[in-house]
Symmetry: C2
Subunit: 235 residues, 2 copies
C-alpha cells in the first residue's frame, strides 16, 4: 500500500498500558492509606465506565466534558461501590492524574521515532489535549501534531473527530491512517474513508483480553507492535 501522509494513533490500550499503570497507581495509593481492595477489579470497573460516560456526552445528555471530569465522576461512584472512600478532592485529583502518567508498551517510543521519518504522526484519542501533552512529555512520544478530543468537542466514534483531524491536516481521509488496538475504532475510521492499522495488544485487559486483541475487520495492516507497523510503512 501507499504510505499514508499521516498516521494517527489511538492512545489508551494502543500505545499505553492503562490497566497495568492504573492498577499500580491504585495499589500504591491503597498501600499508603492502609486500604485493601481488589485494585484490578477497581481499575477494570473504572475503565468500564468510560464508554457509557462518553456516550452521554455524545448523545447530548450532558454538555461537553473532558475525560478528567468523566474519570472523576466515575471514580466517586466506584469508590462508594467498593467502600474505599471517602475520597477528598486531593485524593480524587491524585487518582484521576494516574491517567496522565500511563506507561507505554515497550515498542512504542522507538516505533514512533521510525514512523516519524515517513509520515506525520499524532494522537487521535478520546483524551483531551492536556492529557495527551502529559503522556507525550512523560513518555517521549515524538508527535508532529497533537490532537485532543476537546479540539473537536466530540468523542470517537463521532465523525467530527476523524474527519476533523484530516481537515486540520489539509489531507484527504484516504491519506490518513488510524492505528488502534480496537476494532470498533477502526471500523468508524474506515467508514469515514481513512485507512486502518490494527495493533494487537493481547495484554490490554489482562487475562480477560481474549478475542478483543484480534482483528475482526478488513484492516489495511495488522501489526503486533508500532515497530512492526513502521516496518510495513517503510519507516
Amino acid at each position: 500500500m501507499v504510505t499514508p501522509r499521516a498516521v494517527l494513533f489511538d492512545v489508551f490500550g494502543t500505545l499505553v498500558d492503562w490497566r497495568g499503570s492504573v492498577i499500580a497507581g491504585l495499589s500504591a495509593f491503597g498501600a499508603a492509606r492502609g486500604i485493601t481492595a481488589d485494585w484490578a477489579e477497581i481499575a477494570d470497573g473504572w475503565r468500564r465506565a468510560y464508554r457509557p460516560s462518553m456516550d452521554r456526552v455524545r448523545r447530548g445528555m450532558v454538555p461537553w466534558t473532558i475525560l478528567d471530569d468523566l474519570h472523576r465522576d466515575a471514580l466517586m461512584e466506584i469508590a462508594r461501590r467498593h467502600d474505599i472512600g471517602p475520597l477528598d478532592d486531593d485524593d480524587c485529583e491524585q487518582l484521576v492524574s494516574l491517567w496522565h502518567r500511563l506507561a507505554p508498551w515497550p515498542d512504542v517510543v522507538a516505533g514512533l521515532g521510525r514512523l516519524k521519518r515517513v509520515a506525520i504522526i499524532g494522537p487521535l484519542s478520546n483524551g483531551h489535549l492536556a492529557l495527551q501533552v502529559s503522556l507525550a512529555k512523560r513518555n517521549g512520544f515524538p508527535w508532529d501534531v497533537t490532537f485532543g478530543a476537546d479540539i473537536f468537542r466530540h468523542y470517537k466514534p463521532d465523525a467530527e473527530v476523524y474527519l476533523g483531524a484530516c481537515d486540520f491536516l489539509g489531507l484527504a481521509p484516504d491519506e490518513v491512517m488510524l492505528a488502534a488496538a480496537h476494532n470498533d475504532d477502526l471500523a468508524a475510521a474506515a467508514s469515514f474513508g481513512l485507512t486502518t492499522a490494527f495493533i494487537c495488544r493481547p495484554a490490554e485487559h489482562g487475562p480477560a483480553t481474549g478475542d478483543r486483541a484480534k482483528p475482526s475487520g478488513p484492516w489495511d495492516i495488522v501489526a503486533d507492535s508500532v515497530g512492526n507497523l513502521a516496518d510495513r510503512l517503510g519507516g
Copy 2:
C-alpha cells in the same frame, strides 16, 4: 521569575526568517520563468497584506479563512500590481507553499530543545495547524503541543487565541509565557494575563527593521535568541 509551565511561541519572524525564505523562493521561481522583478519588495508587500487580511476575518467581514487562502488572495493582487502574472493555480500553490518551508533562525532548534526540558513548548501563531506541522516537520521543532489559528478560529490578537491555548493546556494564564519578536503580540498576551518574553530579531524586515526589533513594553524577559531565553528559564 518562576519558570512558566508552558512557553508558546509566535512563529513568523520570531522563529523563522519569513522574509529571507520568501525572497529566496520568489527569486528561484522568477529565475525558472525568466521573470525579473524586485522580489524583496514583492515579499514585503505580500507580508504587508497579512495583518489587514486577518483583520477582515477578525471583524467578521469575511468568514473564517486559513492563512494559505489569505496568502493566495494577496498574491494574486500583488502579482497584478507587479506585473509578474498571469499565475495559474499551480503557480499559486507553489508560491503559497513557500510559507510552509520557511527556514528557522540559527538559534531556534537547539534553543527549543533546551527549553523543552523545563516547560511545555508549542507554537501560538496565526498560521493554521497544517502550516505549523509543515514548519515543525521540515525544521525539527520539537513541539510538545501544536496549536494553529484554525483550532481557535480566531487570529491574534483576539483573546480567544491566548486564553484558548491556556484553557486547552489546563493552565492559568500566568503559568503560560508568550515568546515573540513583536511588541503588539506581547501587549495582547500580557493584557490577558500571560507572561511575556521579547525575542529580538533585528533582521526580520531586512534593512528596514529598525525599532520594530526593540522591546517597547515591560516584558518579563528580553532575549536575543531562543537559547538566551532557555538560559533565563533554567533550560
